[in-house]
């Protein structure tokens, strides 16, 4: 696939050097790994922000232990203050808001999407469709570089005067414009520029994935023979392609509001701190919300669909039987993709929405729950009649099912606008979407890492420590997020710097009970324990690269899909000989077959001569 070089000094077929091979690579597998490593680093950073915020929520106004002094030295006294006794290390509201905004931004745009789509999508999709690489390898490289640049800009914003963006990951105008007005450019400026890079990166990735999946499938790999993972990536590609550009446009408009005195999102007559804001006005804050959530809701499915894809692959392989209802799952994922574009305003029920519009959006919201239920039910039913093997990837995949179930179901009372009147912007919302993304998608990502690790490195990750990692993560994830439903139902609003202490019941005033606010403490301890529970994973991940148990076959899990029919690790160009596909993706335990798995490319009878590779012709 490499274009020929016109440099006379470079002999053809030269082994690429370190930079060419690992930094400026156009190989989808290397780019996938780049995305994976960078994404895991950001996942860790996003989590670290939360560990510090959880201290402030559990013990408001107390200096943060261990890192408090360091934060003070690095970020300065505007961000990190002193307690009454003069000890430095207290998180100030500005820092809390910054960390909150950046936790969301980092987790969504720099960790989960890059891991689910960039890393797994890049590494696995071309292998699963029998392609030698992505359709546009150089575009793929640029996509990663844009992502990396976006990440650097976001990280740099912590250290500029005024700190990182403080207006939530949703960056609602006018707050995003009037917050930290004294400093320009400020954290919000960096956030917008970072987002432009990140969205451009997703856009390039999306175009590439869609083209690759349409154009480069191996001979015989018809649409209904595609592994569900590829379907999930395909729909995700369309969501990224169509939903992200509006926010890119909106971000540029907000940049105008912030720096150039435009008023796209600023209405007439704003009075900030007792002063008329000198802007022309005439804009609409709701326009920003519409543009944001037009990205924001499909984004939710960008976060979850690749996870469902990973889980489906692992469940098929470890139940040793076909996925039940494969076709209805494919139609469901397509329906979800379509419907996800017309549900966005359910994030905006309380912005003065009348009955008609609200009815439309809550009807579509209820409709989108049906294909999600179908997918989840199909996965549950697929377990019936299985011969289940409980290895680490399977444990994470099985853990995903009830956890995503909780996340999905708790979306219902938020999707009905009348019940949303009570639950809007409470901890119930936080618990709901974290169940979808944390023990949901992140468990799927862990499952995927344990599952495809042998294909990447030629070694297994340690099974015992993998199980320890699963058990501890499962327990602590639930201890973190379950109590938040109780807090939310009791009426604790999110984004409260003091963890809701202001709204405690007090002499004669109805308010939050001690127990509800007190839950902040065990939740925070569970967060820190969850952090420690990741140590076995981190050590296992690096240790196994050189010391893990070696695989004895290129197909160590005895799977059917094409990525396991390559050498390990797959060389540049992936397949040694042209691939032809003869059957569906999950032909496990076919009656009468010698083994309990029939690879997609195994010829049906006595092997006929393979056809020419359609990709090379």
């Amino acid at each position: 696939m490499e274009s020929t070089t016109h440099d006379a000094h470079a002999p053809p077929h030269q082994e690429p050097g370190f930079w060419q091979k690992y930094i400026f690579s156009t190989d989808h597998k290397v780019i996938g790994l780049q995305y994976g490593i960078t994404g895991l680093m950001f996942l860790f950073m996003g989590f670290c922000l939360m560990t510090m915020m959880r201290w402030q929520l559990a013990y408001p106004g107390h200096p943060i232990p261990i890192v408090g002094k360091l934060l003070f030295r690095v970020l300065g006294e505007d961000m990190v203050g002193k307690d009454a006794a003069g000890h430095v290390g207290v998180m100030m509201p500005g820092l809390y808001n910054s960390f909150g905004a950046m936790h969301g931004t980092i987790m969504v745009f720099l960790a989960i999407v890059p891991l689910a789509f960039g890393a797994f999508g890049n590494f696995v999709t071309p292998l699963q469709i029998g392609a030698p690489d992505m359709a546009f390898p150089r575009v793929n490289m640029v996509s990663y570089q844009f992502y990396f640049m976006g990440g650097i800009i976001m990280l740099a914003s912590f250290f500029i005067p005024g700190g990182a963006a403080q207006s939530g990951w949703t960056s609602y105008s006018p707050l995003a414009t009037v917050a930290d007005m004294g400093t320009r450019p400020n954290g919000q400026t960096f956030w917008i520029i970072g987002m432009v890079f990140l969205i451009s990166s997703s856009l390039l990735g999306a175009v590439n994935f869609i083209t690759t999946i349409i154009q480069m499938r191996a001979e015989g790999l018809t649409w209904m023979r595609l592994p569900f993972f590829v379907w999930a990536q395909f729909v995700t590609g369309f969501l990224l392609l169509l939903a992200f550009p509006p926010l890119e446009a909106a971000a540029v408009l907000q940049l105008g509001d912030n720096l150039l005195h435009t008023s796209f999102f600023l209405p007439t007559g704003l009075v900030v701190s007792g002063q008329h804001l000198h802007v022309s006005g005439g804009g609409s804050p709701l326009l920003w919300q519409h543009l944001f959530w037009f990205l924001g809701h499909p984004e939710v499915y960008v976060l979850i669909l690749p996870g469902m894809g990973i889980v489906t692959e692992i469940i098929a392989c470890n139940t040793r039987k076909p996925i039940w209802g494969y076709r209805s799952m494919v139609y469901s994922v397509l329906t979800i993709g379509f419907l996800s574009f017309i549900v966005w305003a359910h994030h905006m029920y309380l912005t003065g929405m009348g009955t008609r519009i609200a009815t439309f959006f809550q009807t579509t919201t209820m409709m989108i729950s049906i294909p999600s239920v179908i997918i989840l039910t199909s996965l549950f039913i697929s377990l019936w009649g299985a011969s289940m093997r409980f290895n680490t990837p399977m444990l994470f995949a099985l853990g995903f099912l009830p956890m995503f179930g909780i996340g999905g179901l708790t979306g219902l009372p938020l999707g009905f606008n009348a019940s949303d009147i009570h639950l809007h912007d409470t901890y119930y919302v936080i618990a709901h979407f974290h169940y979808v993304v944390a023990p949901g998608t992140i468990f799927a990502l862990f499952a995927g890492i344990y599952y495809w690790y042998p294909k990447v490195t030629g070694r297994f990750m340690n099974e015992f420590w993998g199980r320890v990692h699963f058990a501890l993560s499962f327990i602590f994830m639930n201890l973190v997020f379950m109590p938040m439903f109780i807090q939310g139902m009791a009426g604790l609003s999110r984004r409260m710097y003091d963890g809701g202490a202001t709204y405690a019941a007090q002499d004669g005033v109805v308010g939050l009970s001690k127990q509800v606010i007190g839950l902040n403490i065990p939740i925070s301890h569970a967060v820190w324990a969850l952090g420690l529970a990741q140590l076995p994973f981190v050590i296992n991940f690096f240790w196994s690269i050189r010391r893990g148990k070696k695989i004895t076959s290129d197909n160590p899990w005895q799977a059917t899909t094409l990525e396991w029919q390559t050498p390990t690790p797959p060389p540049h160009g992936n397949f040694e000989k042209p691939v032809e596909v003869f059957r569906g993706p999950y032909e496990y335990s076919v009656p009468g077959h010698a083994t309990d798995f029939t690879p997609q490319n195994e010829p049906p009878t006595a092997a006929p001569a393979p056809h020419g590779n359609p990709l090379l012709s």
């Binding site: 039910t377 011969s387 009830p402 179930g405 009147i421 009570h422 609003s493 335990s589």
Partner: protein, 283 residues
Amino acid sequence: MQESPKKGLNWWLFFASALLLIIPTCYVVYNISPANMPRNDSAQGGEIDHLITYVHVLMGALFVGWLGFFFYVLLRFNKNRQPVADYAGVKSHASTWLEAVVAIFEAVLLIGFAIPVWSRAVDKFPKENEATVIKVIAQQFQWNGWYPGPHGVFCTNDAKFFSGDNTFGLDKSDPHYKENFIVAKDLVVPVGKPVLVYISSLDVIHCFACKPLRITQDAIPGMVFPAHFTPVKLGTYQINCAQLCGLSHYGMRGTIKVVSQTDYDKWVAEKSKAGASAGGGYE
């Protein structure tokens, strides 16, 4: 991975499953029980609570069903008890019916509860002469309540009247200006009578939320949204800001004090005498 084949039930897994089944059930029941929901002291809040309860019953039933099935298959269809997988798997189409039932249940909740409740909340406003009318104006980081006074007529306001001590731009030449008054943070309303609030904001987006009175409405600059609720008990309730609005968002606390009609009238008369000019509502 070479376990010796065992035919018996895995008791450890069985007890873990049973426990994991019981915990979420208790959890759902506790979560929606009056022990955890904040008390509802409003007339319109009951139907919101009913919807929340019914949705949770649906969720609980589905989840417990899934979990029960899940644990059964984990116990029954593992490698030890089922060495060879069944290629065909489930042949019945019961799940299609299950999905249809879920869809119907959702449709009933939607048409029977969510839409009418919403319609009453955002379309069926009480008549101004039968309600207590207050203009609630949010600003960083304070709730302001602008009351019309004993005669119930608001003076006009416009940005052109804005000045440092008149941030809401009230028209001081308006005859009703004198009996209008503005209170900061602490609103007072009479019991048993609908309260109609016109919610707006001076600066950024806030959200006017009073959980025990089951009222939540965004306050968006440049727009005015009506919202209504009917308090049914005497008491003091907290208003919290439910939309991130800046550094002191967490401290943007207000109160709604529900008093008897007589006490309310006395309070209005007293405040109205002091008038809007008395500090313009600032403490």
